[in-house]
Symmetry: C2
Subunit: 102 residues, 2 copies
DNA sequence: GCAATAACTTACCAAAAAGTAATATAGTTA
DNA sequence: TAACTATATTACTTTTTGGTAAGTTATTGC
């Protein structure tokens, strides 16, 4: 963590990576099974998916629920903290849509 | 560039890096001389600063104005496209301020 | 009793991002 | 004529991030 003055730094430390905003964005519509979520994130590797959801969970942005069945079932959902990013995520998506055709 | 479905991808390709949001954020208040802007971004190296503003310029988010004097004077400012990120940047900063004390 | 299943985990390697330190520039001032 | 200035560039190295492929688990269904 940098000792910079503006809080934007803190935000970037939590969601300022390649995959985090995409994972959070796809969870806005509700909880998803691990495999389903992963398939929505085109291009992500097995390893990066697991690693990224682990970090999001540690930072309190998503929750992980394990169902004790075989084969395994795991669901991810946004926490309240995660949900509070909804505006930012939707604005970023909308901004991308606006400028995509330049 | 990934061939993902959601426009969020495009946004992340333009501003989804360590330093870009910080540089844009500090330009929200108006144009700044190169050296002044760089000093506001605590921790950034000489190289990364130049590299990052070059990319932001290429993507049309900031403008670079060179004054032909010695020693050199260069000013950076947001373009209209850059200014259109204002809400997103301020929301991210605000979000960071809200959760920083957890 | 063997394959199929979903969700990982690990070891290993490659690629990308970032840092360091030295150097260039060219007028102005001492 | 030498130092100073602000901005930038380059070569080199380190750090971080990401990818691949194989292995693990434990029950179900054939």
């Amino acid at each position: 963590m940098s000792k910079n003055n503006c809080p934007l730094h803190y935000t970037l430390n939590l969601i300022g990576t390649k995959w985090k905003p995409l994972i959070l964005f796809h969870l806005l519509e509700g909880p998803l099974r691990s495999g389903v979520l992963q398939k929505k994130i085109s291009g992500i590797s097995n390893k990066m998916f697991t690693q990224t959801v682990r970090e999001l969970e540690q930072d309190g942005l998503i929750a992980r629920e394990v169902f004790p069945v075989v084969p395994p079932k795991v669901e991810y959902s946004l926490t309240d903290k995660g949900k509070s990013l909804e505006n930012i995520l939707r604005n970023m998506d909308e901004w991308g849509a606006t400028f995509y055709k330049d």
